[in-house]
Amino acid sequence: MIENILIAGAELWSVGTLLLMALGVVAGLIAGAIPGFTIAMAVVLVLPFTFGMSPVQGLGTMIGVYVGGLSGGLMSGILTGIPGTPSSVATTFDGFPLARGGKAGLALGVGVWASFFGGVIGAIVLVLVAPQLARIGQEFQPWDYFALMAFALTVTASLAGENMVKGLIAGLIGLLVATVGEDSVVGVPRFTFGVNSVQQGFAFLPVLVGLFAFSRLLADVRDSESAKGNLGAKSDASIRINHLVAATEVLKRWGNLVRSSLIGVFTGVLPAAGSSISNILAYDQARKYSKTPEKFGTGHLDGIVAPEAANNATAGGALIVMMALGIPGDIITAVMLGALLIHDVVPSPTFITEQPVIAYAIFIAFFMANFMMLALQSVTLRGFVRVTQVKMYMLASVILFYCALGVFALNNVEFDIWTLFWFGVLGFVMSALGFPIVPVILGVVLGGIAENALAQVIALSDDPTHFVTRPWSLFFIVLGLFSSFFHVYQRQRGRKRWTLVFIPAMCICLSVPVAMMDGIVRPVLAALLFVGGLYLLYQRHREGWVVMTEDQGEAPTIAEGGP
């Protein structure tokens, strides 16, 4: 282990890699500071530049963008009241009033330091938990692996938003796109319709950039008013941060800091529940635990610490899932998995064991990126404020060209630019028709991996009962079934009677496969799950299966745009 850490550290501690990571952090900070530009888009746009790099350099750069983006959003959120990214929505609740009250420097300083501490706590949890989870990954057989992929695909239902069917259709379209070209098992061309260029299948990057960035940029310039708008009009470029005061203020709120960071990590581990949710959850909890909840929304420092610590810690949670199980926890880790594939590293539950150098490099890079973010955000704050004043149409025009250049550089093939174009059209049309884009990307990333796992299953045995007799496979099937309906549960929680049974039923059902596992700890855990489920049922029964009326249910919540 120490040997691997040293090799990974040596790769990362070169001047070139450090510079690239710093550039990544700056790119992330800029993207995060621009309202409408998501972190995922920034990571996607940086991806083409990483081809010429080693996997460690490339991933280090992308982690820099990820961490930078998570923190960059706070700048526009605090200074203009428009969150740069969805992950800093809750930061604006208190950050903007504080800045408007003449304390913009303090608000930014507290935000920067809370981001830093949140990121470091996330990194510590990542280092401690991921290797333990990865040991479990070594027990996986192809049946378990296929069930894991199926479970990851049920995430599409959670990503669908309002309409689950549209989300599932989008996910299936992504899977279908991944089947185009030669199949990976026997090399037979599929769905090429006689076009030779499609023989090799669609390259991942043009599909990703087309679906996500291209369509998004065009949506941003759809009407002339938003196209000509300044991104962050009235920011004051002469703001100063007193770091000592800001860091002290954050550390004084250590309880809120640790709680929010852990909420962030936990949310990151849950598939599809990213930093856009964690910052609101943490804000909500901070307000509930506060002795002065009435101050929230008026420029309370706790209201900045909670969301900023949570959103940076979420990255640690998402990376835990990516590294330990080889499945994406959110869209950004989905892109990173794609980047690993481009560098011929196949993500799987054995990733940490098989690629220890890359794995430890990710750990170290995540730590380092947080320190770089702190330093760079402080130094270049004024510049970022100016970037938010660029007009949208200028950015869109230049970035569209960069997209084309970047995807061409992948294979030096002009067909990739056409792929970018057609998937841009597809992404735009799908968005306009109300289909979510993220499930398509998830489908494209996981399609090939799931097919290979299925091919292994079929090659090993034609007995489908293995899926329910193997504990891990059954575990993921049960989890997948519940995960498919989780967003419906979240929407109707407490308003419909069936939602009272959902969590207890999930605990009891999950206890079955866990009880089937070897050892002592897991059967004990199964017993706890079973007893916990029964206890919850008993509690609901004692409360008389009470549900909220429609009026009670419609009470405004923080998640719906409060306070």
Partner: protein, 197 residues
């Protein structure tokens, strides 16, 4: 008769596409050697599993759209209204299409500059001072990125077939100058060391 709503039309198109793909999936040729390996998965199996799921979901979507049609569909006022609503994205797609068609003739650098300039002028306005700004931004941003890819990363970007000499001249001179500067920087520490010693 009630007008078909947008979701119904989309569901029908999806079902039709699924039909086409299903039909084509039966044309996927099973290789000769696969018959010798009975455990091998049929290359058409996985796509057909996906298509089955897609058909099922499209049917549910169709049923949803018929039983409870979306209440607040925006009225765009026919084809003209639809065009007005999506004018900017349509123009951007057309501009990008033109850019791709121009690449073989003008090369990545010139076609890129024209594309960025055209897009900015189309979206941002045609006032004289704006045109100057757009021209400067397009030359600097496209030129800068071209320099990074062509000179620093040594990527073979598409060359112009109409002005091959001009592009060759740019490549040789600009990349040559950058190489010379890079060489100077590389040699500087050694030179300093030699002088000091």
């Amino acid at each position: 008769m009630q007008r078909l709503n947008r979701d119904t039309i989309v569901a029908i198109i999806l079902l039709a596409l699924c039909g086409v793909f299903f039909y084509v999936s039966f044309d996927i040729r099973t290789p000769e050697f696969e018959r010798l390996a009975p455990g091998q998965m049929d290359p058409g199996l996985w796509p057909r599993i996906i298509l089955s799921g897609l058909v099922l979901m499209a049917l549910i979507y169709l049923a949803q759209s018929v039983i409870s049609p979306p209440a607040d569909q925006e009225e765009r006022g026919g084809l003209g209204g639809w065009y007005r609503h999506y004018r900017n994205p349509i123009h951007c797609f057309l501009a990008f299409g033109a850019f791709m068609l121009l690449i073989p003739y003008l090369g990545m650098l010139l076609a890129g500059m024209l594309f960025v300039f055209g897009m900015m002028t189309m979206l941002g306005g045609r006032e004289r001072w704006l045109i100057g700004t757009h021209a400067t931004v397009s030359v600097c941003t496209v030129g800068g990125m071209w320099f990074i890819f062509a000179c620093l990363l040594s990527v073979q970007l598409p060359r112009s077939s109409l002005f091959p000499d001009a592009e060759e001249w740019l490549l040789v001179n600009i990349c040559g100058i950058s190489e010379a500067i890079g060489g100077l920087f590389a040699a500087a520490p050694r030179a300093c060391a030699v002088i000091l010693v």
